[in-house]
Symmetry: C2
Subunit: 581 residues, 2 copies
């Protein structure tokens, strides 16, 4: 490819609304162009990256036995009504009407359509297992789209769906995909982790996220540097502390803490570690009557150590809370505690509440909590002596760095990641809702056991950039770079020798199947180098008149701080070695 | 590929709503699956065809210097309001609102978005010419979607848009695309014609349709078997007849024709050739006042020979009619002719009308037309003697087979075609509406000269089938077949020799890069052959125990009526020759 036949458009400054580095660099490198909130054109330079991502995914999906098809972007509402998602999903599901006022959705995923295909086409156990996938445009009407391709509304996703005759086979299909994903992410050339994720109501451990490691990532990833353990923060279990609860050492004392309504403020005022304080979180669960009105409300008091954060996923699985909970209103809090938030605690509530203690809190002695009276806290509080043992002890919190690893093989560390893939065992969630069955060997209809497997195709380049960039621009891994090699001739229009050498190398690399671009635009060296460093092509060959007279050209990897001189006769061999071709 | 790892689903019967052969065969061969009117999933077997079509298009578009990008499916209405198409287009433009009640459209094409890209990105004449293309999902909310992929609502189109600094350069860009299209259609392996098409208000001859020849085609294609002339029926000119108008030979006579209101009925009643009758078509044009109300209406009487059909495109270009015309209402007809339709004519109208004669009618003598009185016609009518010469003589009709070719090199023939591609010179239609300019060499802003170039990617397979099928199923050209070769082993599960030979040939062909499928499903020979004949794989190798003992296998092309025996050692050489690999 010659630059003059391609389209290159770089910017000195990113637009003001580009908040994250990948968004800024993709805009500046001319890879995307905005056409409304979260809606982008993939410009020629960006599309090349996306197409390479797609090619790797397609090759590995095919190799793993998945079969490609393409489902509609605009899908009839009927199928979405069968699973209830047409009504249940929030406004991120874009619902539209056609000219005949019939309801449609713009696909955010395709569980309904693919399950409909399965129930029509996969009639016998002999046709199973089967895994269908597509690489196709999706739409999610995000309330606040931002960060460029990281959280767009229109995006490209690879979504795959497996159908199996039983749970064991479904778990094999899941493992096949999990392995394929490792090969895919290995080929992308990115640092990533496959982390255990929560599988919600389905249960079991068959849910993994593929997270690209980046300091700017939205997600906290928990891992154990001395073992294989890795999970997202929602999933990672905080083990119960070892050893018994210490005996009480202090009397319970009501202590004035005027205006100090947070654990941190109280700890500072009293000059004690934050870890000796306990925070109170008040939740409510409603029981509805047959008319859907609230018949009864139960108030829950969750107790966590002052330096810990509540984990809503874990809380949402507790008995009594799994059917849905909400934060209590201020009126409910005053009614039950006789006090406004900021000074709440489990001792001496006005009305009975259900006390749930985090595992850490359950083994604390001499702790500090609110006195249920404005501007007062209690110190020296002890279970059993000052208040009854908690109704329930459970893991309520996010793990923190230094916690023991759940596999018992070390302590946990935490880093940031960007989720770009997810493999998920669905069970019969969709097949049951849509009555999607096949005839099993015994002649009886059975529900399909399903799995779903996604990769954010257009999100991946953004994640790759968050991980690989410097102050000059993007640094692509070879496998997904828009071009693998750029040839930068200096003064190509003035020097026949430079032009000939550049054209010859260009032809030689094309003949080797290398994705090379020859910059024949006639830009000055400074501007030319700046463009390619911004765009992030990993390998650069610079050809100049002076060097040619000495029989050398220059090679520089995008990560190198300086160029290396290479004899003209050896440059091809060098590149073959660098590129592994 | 092995059939057991792929997905094959054939049907004995097509669904009742599949009216045309391509729709029936694509449904029966399991290539598409319907999810609502005009909305289909491209199933694995169909997607392979579509991907091969896309690959050929992409290679030739790139070779022709076009640059690929991907524009959004969901596009903000603002750009569509700039060109006025948001309001002007009919309900086939699917308009939607997002969660914030902002207006969007689902792209039917992308002139607005690409012109916006050009006006932002192509700032200097030095960046021109430039041609951007995409292969992307489109939506057109057809009132009556039908014929499967032939007239769907959601479909895939390749759309390209060229930007040039002046008309001459734009014509070069147009010709480059027209040539690329010829290479693309040549590679598809289909019989097609590039026919001149009408370029509407733009004028000039720079509009060609690429029509796949098929007896079932919707479009009439006019061509000259003894020259290069080819045009669609809207465009093909009917030349003025040679020689002068004959002298009158009969007196004008009012003749009773009770109940005979069509030319055909009158000709039959009077025992004269249909070509001696003249049909009257009454049109109206309205002049609006400043409030948009009709200030004045002009009535036009168009005269065509009884055996000719009016060509609305040609009529729409006549002076006085080019701003839009309509058929006159019955009230208007009675007011001007004193008679209801069926017996109208130009002689003795109640009020003056503007008479426009087709070129053929203008040179007729002694013709027959309505008498402007129910149940009466006039015979022996002659221009000049019985009525004034027409206000205008023009080409008003569709050509018919046997008309002289407009290039003077023979006579015209007509066949049917299916439009699958269109190249079109747009001029400044969109750049003017959107004020899309670049800085020309003289430092002044100039409007882009544009062209647009489409190929119906998902329509093409349907057109290919309309052209290439028999009673057993589809017959794909090699280039776009879902698989090029199918290996059918007989009794693979019983015979180790058959299994080994089949697997070996499969490996050998894969190594040659041949797109081969080995049918290892264990179907009986009859069912297996029927499946592959329905699916339309062009080359079949059958391997059986009996043949192997004699050292032979069987080769059969899908068009062959019987199989040919081939020595086992020669089958690879035979296939290499057949496939040109």
């Amino acid at each position: 490819m010659k630059a003059s036949q391609f389209f290159i458009s770089t910017l000195k400054e990113a637009p003001a609304d580009a908040e994250v580095v990948s968004h800024r660099l993709m805009m500046r490198a001319g890879m995307i162009k905005k056409f409304g909130a979260g809606i982008y054109t993939y410009m020629p330079m960006g599309l090349r990256v996306i197409q390479k991502v797609e090619r790797i995914i397609r090759e590995e999906m095919n190799a793993a036995g998945a079969v490609e098809l393409t489902m509609p972007v605009i899908q009839p509402a009927e199928l979405w009504q069968e699973t209830g998602r047409f009504d249940k999903m929030g406004p991120e599901l874009l619902r539209i009407k056609d000219r005949h006022e019939r309801d449609f959705v713009v696909q955010p995923t395709s569980e309904e359509v693919v399950t409909d295909i399965a129930r029509q086409e996969l009639r016998s156990y002999k046709q199973l297992p089967k895994n269908f996938y597509q690489i196709q445009t999706k739409f999610r009407d995000e309330r606040r789209p931002r960060f460029g391709l990281m959280r767009g509304r229109e995006f490209i996703m690879k979504d795959a769906y497996s159908f199996d005759r039983d749970r064991e086979s479904a778990q094999l299909s899941y493992q096949t995909m999990a392995q394929a994903y490792r090969r895919i992410f290995d080929r992308f050339g990115l640092r990533y982790r496959a982390v255990a994720a929560d599988s919600g109501a389905i249960g079991g451990d068959l849910s993994e996220e593929f997270q690209v490691i980046a300091a700017t990532g939205e997600d906290a990833i928990v891992y154990c540097p001395t073992s294989d353990y890795a999970a997202n923060i929602e999933k990672a279990e905080a083990l119960a502390p070892q050893g018994p609860r210490p005996a009480p050492g202090q009397p319970m004392t009501k202590t004035p803490t005027p205006g100090k309504s947070t654990c941190a403020q109280v700890a500072e005022l009293l000059g004690v570690p934050l870890a000796t304080t306990v925070k109170s979180i008040v939740l409510a669960t409603d029981v509805l009557d047959e008319q859907g009105a609230v018949a009864q409300t139960r108030i829950w008091l969750l107790l966590l150590r002052g330096d810990h954060d509540m984990n809503e996923v874990k809380v949402g699985k507790l008995p009594g809370l799994a059917q849905g909970f909400r934060f209590a209103t201020e009126a409910e809090i005053v009614e039950h505690f006789g006090c406004k938030p900021g000074y709440l605690g489990p001792v001496g509530t006005r009305k009975p509440v259900t006390v749930v203690a985090d595992r850490e809190v359950a083994v604390m002695a001499d702790w500090i909590c609110g006195a249920n009276e404005a501007d007062f806290h209690l110190t020296g509080v002890n279970w059993g002596r000052d208040l009854p043992e908690p109704a329930l002890v459970a893991d309520l919190r996010n793990v923190v760095a230094g916690d023991p690893s759940p596999d018992g093989k070390g302590v946990l560390a935490i880093e940031r990641g960007i989720e770009v893939g997810h493999v998920f065992y669905l069970g019969t969630k969709y097949s049951r809702a849509m009555n999607a069955t096949f005839l099993d060997e015994d002649g009886k209809p059975k529900l399909f056991e399903m799995g779903c497997y996604g990769i954010g195709v257009t999100r991946l380049p953004a994640a790759a950039i968050e991980q690989n960039h410097d102050e000059r621009g993007i640094i692509w891994p070879d496998a997904i770079a828009p071009f693998t090699v750029v040839i930068c001739p200096i003064g190509m229009d003035r020097s026949e020798a430079v032009a000939q050498a550049a054209e010859q190398l260009h032809r030689d690399l094309l003949a080797l199947g290398v994705d090379v671009i020859l910059d024949d635009r006639g830009e000055r060296p400074g501007a030319m180098f700046a463009d390619w460093e911004l765009i992030g092509v990993p390998h650069r060959i610079t050809i100049g008149d002076k060097g040619l007279k000495e029989g050398v050209v220059e090679y520089q990897h995008r990560r190198d701080s300086a160029a290396t001189r290479v004899a003209v006769g050896e440059v091809l061999a060098l590149l073959k070695e660098k590129l592994g071709v």
